[in-house]
Symmetry: C2
Subunit: 341 residues, 2 copies
């Protein structure tokens, strides 16, 4: 057909002086291959630029080399980082990484996933918030014995492998930072109430305020939905209510950006008479002026780890419930400054 002939397992086997099956063993991380043999196979495979054929693998093993990340999240920046993490691990292991948006508006999560899984053979599933906390979906996945992992789940932690950060502690870091700057009237813009991480961040905020003996009444909590627009509206409503916080902590960067734009539009000076803190460490925070003080979440790392855990689960069904916590960090930037009474 063309000059580039496909390199098959057979070629590798012949070249390395072993059977096809042994080559197969090496590529599937199966036990009982002598270390020297494994190395020899790997080397000749590399030298011959061998790439396993996904379709053949799938057909022969009745498995599928596709991981699907189901999500219901409007933030492209967040999604892109997750995608990169999943993709990296998938690519290194011969899997496809597919991103599947799953708007709750099109039907229950469980229903949609069920349909999807019937139509396409799927090797494993990665769930991010809020899907990772959907009871019906989780049950259906378990009932059908489809391997899955979760990113930052908040409930039923024992039922699957997952990766997470300590959202509450992270929110306390930010709150403590603002308090340390001398702020006493700190408003909080929360995420949607049913969202697990959003709750944890809110709890962290409240705890820090209480611990510092600040007056909770002068620390209003506005409800947002993690969108830029909801942050914008939250600031407007704050103003309408006559609240006059010297600092605002938004539960994600998009809302922080929204609040900041609304404040700038209203003529406020940031950070002169209003400090703003975000949460995520996303790109928006870097491309605004002043740049946003925020909590950096290792989103890409969370996705990578989760994908590794999914792989581990598939390779060794014992590893059904492994979890990994990743660290967050406070990024101090121009949007927060000491309170000037």
């Amino acid at each position: 057909m063309n000059s580039i002939r496909k390199v098959t397992i057979e070629d590798i086997a012949r070249e390395a002086g072993v059977s096809m099956k042994t080559v197969s063993r090496v590529f599937n991380h199966e036990p009982n291959v002598r270390e020297t043999t494994r190395e020899r196979v790997m080397e000749t495979a590399k030298a011959m630029k061998y790439r396993p054929n996904v379709a053949a693998r799938g057909l022969a093993s009745n498995k599928s080399y596709v991981f699907v990340h189901f999500h219901d999240n409007p933030n492209p920046d967040y999604l892109e980082r997750i995608h990169q993490g999943i993709h990296k691990i998938c690519r290194a292991n011969g899997y496809f990484a597919v991103m599947e948006p799953l708007p709750i508006a099109s039907g229950s999560y469980a229903e949609q996933v069920t349909d999807y899984v019937t139509e396409f053979a799927i090797g494993g599933i990665i769930l991010s918030p809020p899907l990772c906390d959907d009871k019906a979906l989780l049950e259906s996945l378990i009932a059908r014995a489809i391997p899955f992992v979760r990113l930052s789940p908040s409930h039923d932690l024992g039922i699957s492998s997952h990766t997470f950060v300590d959202d509450k502690a992270a929110a306390m870091m930010m709150t403590d930072h603002l308090i340390a700057l001398g702020h006493k009237d700190i408003a909080f813009i929360s995420g949607p109430p049913h969202h697990g991480a959003a709750q944890a961040r809110r709890n962290g905020f409240v705890d820090s305020i209480k611990t510092a003996n600040l007056n909770l009444k002068s620390c209003p909590i506005m409800e947002g939905d993690f969108s830029f627009h909801s942050g914008y509206k939250a600031y407007e409503q704050l103003a309408r209510l006559g609240a006059n916080p010297s600092a605002i902590f938004a539960a994600n960067d998009d809302m922080a950006a929204g609040a900041m734009v609304a404040a700038l539009k209203a003529g406020r000076d940031i950070p002169g008479d209003l400090s703003i803190g975000g949460f995520d460490g996303s790109r928006v925070g870097e491309i605004m002026w002043p740049p946003l003080t925020t909590i950096r979440q290792p989103i890409r790392g969370l996705a990578e780890q989760a994908t590794e855990l999914l792989l581990a689960h598939i390779r060794d069904p014992e590893k059904v419930n492994v979890s990994a916590q990743l660290p967050v960090s406070l990024i101090k930037r121009g949007s927060s400054a000491p309170f000037k009474g």
Copy 2:
């Protein structure tokens, strides 16, 4: 491990009283099947809830129901919009949509794609800039007869289906807008020189300046690379050169944002003493203050159309070279205002 597949073509064939091959024909929209036979097969397949096995199909036919978008673009916002467009059409037609980053740093585009295509059976390929203008890659794809379409290519328009906007005319729209506001010293921040669309935008800018009889010498052109950072640096360099434009037109929104942040940092008032125009209509333009005047490109639409064209090509090999132009529009927002001498 994954969904249990029990109904095979063999079952359908036996039930419908035809051969497996005929069932296969029906499912692949092949010609030369009697209408009554086709219907009978479809009915029994439906009754038996038959689902074709993607892996077996892929292995046997050396084709696959996967479309891959290869890209080398750091902008998550742009990527996400393309992804949405591709995904929508794929989903509706039973295809997987896979996004594959292809950093030029890891080897030539042609090489990387070759490797990838050998490993995964791929149904079709979607290329966006700058990959869509890579000669070696295009040649290799054509040589291997792999169906592909392109988004906004600038060269060899005749060799494949593609979708595009008129970048030059669009850049002229923005330039004319700034000129109409009374600006005479307009700086341009261009994209990377080898990037086709970047060239077209630059040409549009220059043409408009000339047409308006403005002095090109007071309209400096800075070279960027479409990144936020390069926009930032371009502004700094402009200042260092002693240029003092009253308006800046950046060839994409990210660079416009970078220039704006640099200008704000330098104490400039936007749009009071500096107007800024971008290009793309991306999210960053909406989440900054002042919001960015820009050219909206229908990126999602371009991706949708391109995917449709790919599908059309695959279903009817005659349709190798269809192209669709989509309209752009000028979005006037707060970052541009009349020149105040």
